[in-house]
Symmetry: D2
Subunit: 352 residues, 4 copies
């Protein structure tokens, strides 16, 4: 285990990239070793990190940092050991295999490597699906949920950082699914709501202030990409779970309201115990417990996933509420947890 | 049928009261006959309507209107035929029976008279439940949903104007429930989200801007007062439906995401037909149809309830989305519809 | 004077266009005569008005309205007498002269024809400035502020509808400037704040929800296009007035805080009288008076310009606050006032 | 100089108190020495810090912290050396003299001790003004603006932490006023806009979401309490400066737009140099410089005050824009700067 390593970030222009930059610049194990920031140099444009993200200006030296044109030579020269890909999934499909060839470990924030089953991957329409190289790399990919795959992540060459919605739902459901207490014939309903940063930085009709503000809209009913992650990580089939995302008029934060039915009557303390046991060694999950439902404002701008539940008087119907910040626990923060595990550091280093 | 009548409004200080005042002041059948506005005179306070609601100032004469101290004599003297109660439910329990005694018809915006079953009313903890007078008045009360009870409303002495959440859910579900196509054993999930005006005008920790803004929170899980209306109007029992309200960071608007399962496979056009048939004569429901989901911004500041749905490929699981403005179709606007029906006017008069 | 006429709107896709469509569809003098909506037909696109603006769907017949491809023949065929241009200023420079040739009166919502002095027009960089045709048309243009130019508007062939910021500032200042009571050597400061709809519908980095929400930013300091309107309509020179626009995190509304100094000590009632006298015949200005400052929420979604002021104890320094809805009094609503004047109808018809 | 000390906070229930708690709990010199949190114990209420502020829950031990009933004995017992008063100004007037008697240094976040001139203090209506004790304590009070009074703060017994608006304006103006370059006869206009947290946590009509959202309003024109700070710290008299606060529909952040006139023509680089020189040793001021205006979103949730300006072509009229987070640089963050100075630590410790 090394005290520090050299990291690099490809694709720092988006919201998750900016958060990742901020976290890495202030990470206690990376003091004095800022990441190599990589991107496309646009002619005539200021390539400084702080021109792109003025909120990253501080008096700790960020002012001098540049976004440099990507090349494998540069990574080698700088001794990069872990490369974060904050790139669209098509690009991540291209770069991850090459990085592994160059013996650089990868933490990919896109959906490129999260899904082991071809059926689930179909939604992404990857050109390269089926090639031998891709299949080999896919095999190496570990789903980067520390609470579910802590040990595999430590040794992983390629970590597929989970989706934001998927994280909120999987963490809310996994202890109940794993314990076998759910009546899956009744179905699980996941009604999720996300802030606008989840829709990305590219200006569009849907991210226009006039569309998003004072509004609420459903999108991707029965068709959102994160469904595959839910199925694979929870071991469910499509008939057992429905997931509906909504666009909230707030900058950041996800709240998932999850409706389940227990096979047999449970008491609040039994359900509470299932959660506390499952997350006993997980510093980044906060259990609010029975009757204490988390809200978006508690977890936003933190790396926590907050979980609470309300049990009906019948002891069988239960509403689980799971909240997190889509750019932190749902993206950049969880990526740093994965870095910490891969380096043998404290899972929560640089995240509190 | 008269061309015009004299109305009165008791309790104009809240948000629904203000909207009701605005609608009645601009109603084509009430031109030149502004409502008698009634309330408690607070010593030393400006009793003009526009001091209370500066947004009601216009050049049509609202400037001179006063809020007058309530008395039955005053109502008689002014020849009031219909009294709107925009009062807390305890007060509505008190005033409605007296109004009927004075042969004044009542449209009550509170929850006081909506529920015919004592079990459902228990949540309101009415002191007077069980008294003979109350029971007699309760029998006269008609649930003021024009789409469900148009004919009874025309002749009603007492109309219990529906709850805002209840309206959005009942209108979204009734055509499916009435057609007997739902698999009720699978349960119905109603995940509803409302703007802050639904929480009332009294300043509180939960209506503070700092609590509501940039946030989303669940409240009243398994315990919200509107549940009784759902059960009675849809003919369901508690085991068949779950309803969860959320507080949205917007001023007004409700979106209910409703999850149902059909007993047998349906096509989108079959479902669409059920809705169009049911609402054929209803000017205030807009059917968006299959794959076209309404959003809060389309119905807000209108009196419409917008309904759309998305059917899963399996033809059985279906997400219904129902939107309305909680202060209009969910309160003051629906009250005006009821006035229109009671007076034999066009159901949509003054609402477009 | 005719009871009704045929109108047309070119460029209905933006926010002001949508408001204009709504106002004209509900205008009492235009019942049964919807405007001809004109635009570019994009191949394969739904050309119905309500596909573009779902909030315009109602049960009054808007459902059948189409956006038709523009041609002068079509306008002639339909007997169009007044054409609204809700187009970018370059297009308005092109279409207005042609409309006048076709003997169609024009109300232009852009900045194309508002400025009589070439110096002030320079900011728009018009290609055609200096041509004889343009100069002739410019001479005919009347600045469409009913409060300032009511009589000229009645007979105008071409009305240049004022800018939104300009309207709020000109109406706030004109009574004081006209009365000659200001110490112009001390300078006038106009600190204006506008909601995001003022920035237009085209998605951009600045209209992205993540940029606008929870933020406030200055733009166009010392360089905003509306300065020319202030100078010409108020008869000031650049050294006497500063105007700074800010982008507010709200959908609509403008508040201008205007700082002036009186040449001599005034009492609040003297200042109040100046305003009330000046706006005596103006139905669309509401004087809040001394110590009663308007807020954005009072005028938004109305066609009023609200004006109040606070006088310092010294009787010389005064803060004038002027509020309006940038899409109504600041654009489409004022355009309808101009239509009303041009047709000899009540100035406020269709606006309350 | 000690490496660490024991602190205490009285009045942790408000927004500034919560931010102060968060900062102190994570301060590098206070690791393992959480502040003593003091308040009124309300019978039957959970006295844990995290019950009051759920967002403070983390895995660093905050869970066990209690709010303890205030007593001087407790402070003595715990060895408290610095007491933060996050109390209303009346309480701060009472507690600060007693603390000094107990030889405990005080950082007071209220307006109680900021003003040396009785005229300026009149706005607070202090009962005790004029008493000998109060006068003696007032003499000891240092205005806690590190950029202006760094050296006096180091040795101060009582630091009066500046007001939020005052900080944004004083820091924006001081370099220009100190350099004597302003034409004060033309007057300085400070048009300031603040988020809702500045209005405090007590629910009221003005902090209701429905009032603040989608709105902008002026308050306290010519009468805001912070005026006295501006006059004393900038050495101006009332005739030379106007300050107008506005309530912005955002949770936090202040932007002040400040209008000044130079006595003689200046170039942008000359103005820039004045700022850079003045703040050369100040880590918490970021100079954006000529033509680069800060926005609220850049400084919010940081302890920076961001300053930029735009100079008119005439070289004399200048708009200065100053932004900060009202709860950090405008309250709790600046209080921690003062703690750092009083303890001989790095001025920015615990603030980046």
């Amino acid at each position: 285990m090394k005290d520090s390593i050299q990291t690099a970030v490809l694709g720092v222009s988006g919201y998750a990239g900016a958060e990742l930059a901020r976290l890495l610049l202030h990470h206690p194990n990376l003091k004095g070793r800022p990441p190599v920031f990589l991107g496309r140099a646009e002619a005539g444009q200021d390539s400084s990190l702080t021109a792109l993200h003025p909120q990253l200006v501080d008096n700790n030296g960020s002012a001098g940092l540049k976004i440099e044109p990507f090349s494998w030579e540069l990574l080698k020269e700088r001794g990069v050991e872990v490369l974060f890909l904050a790139t669209p999934h098509e690009q991540s499909r291209e770069y991850a295999p090459l990085a592994l060839e160059h013996r650089i470990r990868v933490i990919d924030l896109s959906g490129a490597w999260r899904l082991s089953e071809a059926d689930n991957r179909a939604v992404y329409k990857f050109d390269d699906d089926g090639s031998a190289v891709t299949a080999a790399v896919q095999t190496k990919a570990v789903y980067g949920s520390p609470e579910l795959h802590r040990d595999e992540i430590r040794d992983a060459e390629l970590v597929a950082n989970p989706g934001c919605y998927a994280t909120s739902i999987i963490l809310g459901l996994k202890p109940l699914v794993a314990a076998g207490v759910l009546d899956l014939d009744r179905g699980i309903i996941c009604d999720s709501k996300s802030g606008v940063s989840g829709a990305g930085k590219a200006p569009s009709a849907k991210t226009h202030y006039m569309y998003a503000a004072d509004n609420l809209s459903v999108y991707g009913a029965f068709s959102h990409r994160h469904m595959g992650e839910l199925l694979e990580q929870l071991g469910l089939d499509r008939s057992q779970i429905v997931f509906t995302p909504h666009l909230l008029p707030i900058p950041r934060g996800i709240l998932s309201t999850i409706y389940v039915t227990f096979r047999e009557k449970k008491s609040p303390s039994e359900v509470d115990a299932l959660y506390r046991e499952f997350y006993a060694g997980s510093p980044m999950v906060r259990i609010f417990g029975a009757g204490h439902l988390p809200q978006i404002q508690y977890s936003v701008r933190t790396n926590y996933c907050d979980i609470g539940f309300e049990l009906d008087k019948d002891g069988r119907r239960c509403i689980v509420v799971s909240c997190l910040d889509n750019l932190l626990k749902g993206a950049a923060g969880q990526a740093v947890e994965n870095l910490n595990l891969m380096c043998g550091w404290d899972e929560a280093a640089g995240l509190e």
